[in-house]
């Protein structure tokens, strides 16, 4: 499936929060390798997604939903990074990253659903006239 992932050292979890940034520098080599891998995966998957979408996403509503989720992830990660820049331990920071988690999971669930059939399939059978149910053209 995915290539082997090189994780940072296990001691990461033992360190306190304030030391995280220093750990990044320490494991710079490992992190760089990981970042390269992630970039490759993203390039590959974007191509893959375009192909998959032709099969999986049938309706306009689904295509819009996918776009919406992608944009939300980007937006919320940015927000969280900003909010936590001030105070990492604040409630706002916790909530911001929790939102990122929620959307990331929603995107993952969406991807999984899409593998079987378009999630709007049964809804669009009942309501083919709605905007969301227009057939999506690649």
């Amino acid at each position: 499936m995915m290539g082997s992932l090189a994780l940072g050292s296990v001691s990461f979890w033992g360190s306190s929060r304030s030391v995280i940034k220093r750990d990044y520098d320490h494991d710079h080599g490992q992190d760089q390798k990981m970042k390269m891998k992630m970039m490759m995966m993203k390039k590959r998957s974007r191509v893959g997604m375009a192909v998959a979408m032709a099969g999986g996403a049938k309706f306009k509503g689904t295509q819009m939903r996918e776009k919406q989720l992608n944009e939300m992830i980007e937006k919320k990660v940015k927000e969280a990074t900003e909010v936590c820049g001030g105070d990492e331990k604040s409630a706002e920071c916790k909530v911001a990253w929790d939102e990122v988690e929620e959307i990331s999971q929603a995107k993952a669930d969406f991807r999984l659903k899409l593998q079987k059939e378009d999630p709007l399939e049964s809804f669009c059978q009942e309501h083919p006239e709605t905007d969301e149910c227009r057939l999506y053209d690649n």
Binding site: L5, I20, R65, I73, E74, W97, V100, E102, Q105, A108
Partner: protein, 411 residues
């Protein structure tokens, strides 16, 4: 098959009518027959005030009262691999309800309904932001409603359950949930509230260690444009305090814990591909007999690879033994390593006991059926499948025991 319970009670002579149980929930009641019988003559009944009272019997026929399973997991709702394996054991695939809200979190198969506990959020995304609480915080959840509705479904009455929309972050209009044979409640807090805990016939906690969680979240998110290694790390770190405070303590209440750790077979392994999985099973749970290896209650260390079975690197290692977990007696079965071939799987299956299979090779067959699911080559898939079979066994025992309850009609 209908299982009927008879309730007999004395009717107060000042009551002029028989009050029907109030329909406080939309949906149907199970069939109820009310028999009203008057005592024939003025027979003296010492227990009452001296007057003979007419008595009536209510026979409630509930078709196989719902068995409720709780699953605590941090991996979203209903689409998790565990759920898919579990519903597969009972036959059929669980699908979202047809024709309803496409963003419903519920899954329904012939025998099983899986409810996502996020549907009981009392605060939507905006509300949580305002109050400064995460979804992990109990303050974001309506445990009263959770208890009420799970209890109602268990009693055989349908409910209108809210829907929490994970995309919009809003609470959508409710959907009708009819009582199934087996109800699974999955989410962050199935065992948090004591009243809900008491409704569970069996409970499972999926305990993923930090290293493995990190590896899985990278796999989940790394293709997303918005994510980076830093953001994934930061998200896990930020949620950890609430997770440790509110979610993790539920472990102690679970009848079975599946703990997922990095392997010990590969020195300095940090890839997170090979896993060490522990199945921690509470002793003394009704209708649940823990799985064991060779000799129940003893301590075993077993490497199946050898003369009869050849395995590829890093191989497979099992341990089994009694232990103590948060003050409870438990039995722990642990698997480290990976299955590479079918014959390894069947070999291991043939040496496990109390796995509640209906035929030889059933575990292997189930694992093969879903060989594309994550974990199909290691302890996560194996133990999830076995727990699924144990739950089936538990369900059948509960049904059998209820049908043996003697039906009495008082004269």
């Amino acid at each position: 098959m209908a299982i009927c319970t008879v309730y007999t009670t004395q009717l107060n002579p000042t009551c002029s009518s028989i009050s029907k149980p109030s329909k406080s929930h939309l949906g149907f009641h199970q069939r109820q027959v009310v028999l009203y019988k008057r005592n024939s003559t003025n027979t003296y009944r010492p227990r009452s005030s001296g007057f003979s009272r007419p008595s009536y019997s209510i026979i409630t026929c509930a078709a196989d009262q719902t068995v409720v399973i709780g699953l605590a997991a941090d991996s979203g709702c209903g689409k998790s691999t565990f759920m898919r394996r579990l519903t597969s054991v009972f036959g059929g695939a669980a699908e979202p309800p047809r024709g309803g809200n496409p963003d419903s979190n519920t899954l329904i198969s012939d025998t099983t309904t899986v409810i996502c506990l996020d549907d009981y959020h009392s605060l939507d995304r905006t509300g949580r932001k305002e109050k400064g609480v995460t979804a992990l915080d109990p303050r974001a959840n309506n445990f009263d409603l959770m208890y009420e509705q799970v209890k109602t479904i268990k009693e055989g009455v349908a409910v209108e359950k809210p829907i929490y929309n994970h995309v919009t972050g809003l609470l959508d209009p409710p959907e009708l949930i009819k009582p199934p044979k087996i109800l699974v409640i999955e989410g962050l807090h199935p065992m948090y509230d004591e009243r809900v805990r008491d409704l569970l016939d069996f409970s499972i906690y999926l305990d993923i260690s930090n290293e493995v969680k990190f590896a899985w979240k990278i796999q989940r998110d790394m293709a997303e444009r918005g994510h980076s290694l830093e953001s994934i790390k930061a998200s896990i770190e930020a949620r950890k305090p609430d997770f440790d405070a509110y979610i993790d303590p539920q472990k102690q209440y679970a009848d079975a814990v599946i703990e997922v750790l990095p392997t010990q077979l590969i020195p300095d392994d940090n890839e997170g591909k090979v896993l060490r999985v522990k199945l921690i099973m509470k002793e003394g749970v009704q209708y649940f007999s823990p799985v064991y290896l060779f000799d129940e209650g003893s301590t075993i260390s077993w490497i199946p690879c050898g003369r009869k079975l050849t395995c590829s690197y890093p191989g497979i290692k099992f341990t089994y033994g009694p232990d103590s977990y948060y003050g409870h007696e438990v039995s722990v079965l642990e698997m480290d390593g990976q299955f590479d071939r079918l014959d390894e799987l069947i070999y291991v299956e043939s040496h496990l006991s109390n796995i509640s299979t209906k035929f030889y090779g059933e575990v292997t067959q189930q694992m093969l059926k879903h060989s594309d699911f994550p974990g199909s080559n290691n302890g996560t898939g194996l133990f999830q499948t076995i727990i699924g079979l144990k739950i089936r066994d538990l369900y059948e025992q509960i049904v059998a025991s209820r049908s043996q309850t003697p039906v009495e009609a008082k004269a």
